[in-house]
């Protein structure tokens, strides 16, 4: 099993903060494609290309490997800090 953690807008869209998916060893982009198919509420955000992905709490690319037992997070653009008016 791979644990998928969802944050902020993604969690609100999915209605849950954690998903688990049965997946063989694959790449991040394979996993994202599978998630978009299984969770239509996330499809638009996943296809937007604006999400950041981490694997075991390190930033990952579309080509990064994912394997059974990993913790993957889908993260919208960050907005911590303050001090920047727009």
């Amino acid at each position: 099993m791979i644990t998928i953690k969802l944050f902020a807008l993604l969690r609100d869209r999915a209605g849950v903060d954690t998903l688990t998916v049965a997946a063989k060893a694959c790449r991040v982009d394979d996993l994202l494609a599978q998630l978009a198919r299984e969770h239509p509420a996330l499809a638009e955000l996943i296809s937007s290309g604006r999400l950041l992905v981490s694997v075991n709490q390190e930033f990952a690319t579309k080509e990064s490997p994912v394997k059974d037992g990993d913790e993957v997070a889908l993260m919208p653009p960050f907005s911590g800090g303050q001090g920047q008016r727009q």
Partner: protein, 139 residues
């Protein structure tokens, strides 16, 4: 702990006293404090909520802290960020950089807040007159 994510308010005097105790060579402390404003994109903000990725957020802040110490030659760095529901006007984030010289302290502090915004998984939800929105800043 020189990196903290917490719901509670922090005291800048207390944090400065702590960092000063870590070395007797400190001549300058430069700090950045981010506070919530009452306006965001010209709309009145009534409520703010911050959320983080527990574990990864602290890890990124500690990476930023260590890089600042190493790359700028400063003596010590502390980074605090609050999460949860925060009233308008509250202090959100504090970066303290203690150094021998002011030049490196200013540059390291600026680096830390820029990096915090760039690589730390923290998100802000604003409630304005037009509803709730997860903010996406483009630093």
């Amino acid at each position: 702990m020189s990196v903290r994510i917490q719901k509670e308010p922090f005291s800048i005097d207390d944090e400065i006293a702590k960092i000063k105790k870590t070395s007797t060579s400190i001549g300058a402390v430069v700090s950045f404090l981010g506070t919530t404003r009452d306006l965001s994109r010209s709309k009145a903000v009534s409520r703010l909520e911050f959320e983080h990725y527990p574990g990864m957020a602290e890890k990124k802040l500690e990476e930023i802290r260590l890089r600042a110490i190493r790359d700028f030659g400063v003596i010590n760095v502390a980074i605090l960020h609050r999460v949860g529901v925060l009233p308008v006007g509250e202090n959100i984030v504090l970066i303290l950089v203690a150094a021998g010289h002011r030049d490196e302290a200013f540059r390291a502090c600026r680096f830390c807040i820029d990096e915090l915004k760039r690589i730390t998984p923290i998100w802000k939800k604003e409630t304005t007159t037009e509803g709730e929105v997860w903010v996406e800043e483009h630093p």
